[in-house]
Subunit: 188 residues, 2 copies
DNA sequence: CTAAGCATGTAAGATGTTACATGATTAT
DNA sequence: ATAATCATGTAACATCTTACATGCTTAG
């Protein structure tokens, strides 16, 4: 089972849904740490139907199909969740550019860092809103909300760390301008 | 130009190298935020030779070729670095499993978090060693070291944030055991 | 000599993105 | 009506991993 099939099974374990709705959940609820496109989700659902993990059920609008987990699908989901997470290949374009910052220059580097900072700021606001909502659901007696809060907290820690790093790095980029040799010093 | 070609050009901008040595640099110096396999690097070098960005030069052992940036390659490198970083699709298998933590159970979730914590701890140690080395190079007059330290600092902030989140999350997983209804309370 | 490390490359298959094509339903 | 949103799917292409096959060089 691949990662896309795993997340589709997980989403369908909550309630039956159309392919479109699965993607909505992935973007909305899991978007902070997971992404899928239609081009992956629809073929994944086809495979899951073919292997009996999932079956179409009533309840959608005409011309659309909602899918529900079968018992076999639930078993496969639990297997997949129990397997160790697949590590993701690291690929941070900002840090790559910063590592070769002497080619790009300090001003362009500062621009990149400011973009990271701004995105982290927006992210913190989004996560605060999500936290408020999920805390409400927890208070309303939704026991899974306690797990949802852990993932929100992960995002918050990460975003705050990014913010702190950005401030530190912007100071470093501004405070020690490139050794362009101020008049009076003799570069050698 | 794709991301692999960009990083190959960037590495070759430092000094000419074999494909094998490019990969060594990517793993060793950039490994904290970038990854490439031979299956990507060798074809990328072929394409860069074909389009004149890179050319074979003398200096390797027999049967191997070292490659150097051409003027055109340097121009393409600067273009590529100036382009906005390509955002990476998020895919955190640990957070996915935690989000659906009620399916996996609190004990398995705690195991996952402990693994993240242990990896973060190792990472902090590695980064401390890297920092010491790069600070030495900065003191020895290597001006690019100041950029290298910024990327090390990013790793440190991220790893410390991960550590803090893990401790918090382990406490949450242990402190509020699953609402299995202690004797005396009436679940409804 | 022989093992470890240096070095190159390809082929198959998995994975993932993007754009396109199509059409139903709902709200304004 | 008509625009926005819901909904499904495919085809082309790009990307990436993994395993395999091969052989040189250097240190012990």
């Amino acid at each position: 089972m691949n990662q896309t099939e795993l997340v589709v099974l997980a989403v369908l374990s909550v309630r039956p849904a159309t392919g479109y709705a699965v993607r909505e959940v992935v973007h909305g609820q899991l978007g902070a740490f997971w992404g899928e496109s239609f081009g992956q989700i629809y073929p994944a659902i086809s495979r899951l139907v073919a292997d009996g993990s999932v079956q179409p059920v009533e309840g959608g609008r005409a011309g659309s199909a909602r899918y529900a987990l079968t018992a076999a699908g639930r078993a496969r989901l639990l297997d997949g969740l129990a397997a160790p997470p697949v590590p993701q290949r690291p690929r941070d374009g900002t840090l790559l550019r910063l590592f070769f910052g002497d080619l790009l220059g300090p001003a362009a580097c500062a621009d990149l860092v400011r973009q990271v900072r701004d995105r982290a700021g927006e992210r913190i606001a989004e996560l605060a809103a999500a936290r408020a909502e999920v805390e409400g659901e927890l208070a309303a007696g939704e026991p899974r909300a306690r797990y949802w809060l852990m993932t929100i907290s992960a995002g918050e820690h990460t975003a705050r760390a990014a913010l702190a790093w950005c401030e530190e790095t912007l100071a470093a980029l501004a405070g020690e301008p490139p050794p362009a040799g101020p008049l009076g010093t003799i570069p050698r």
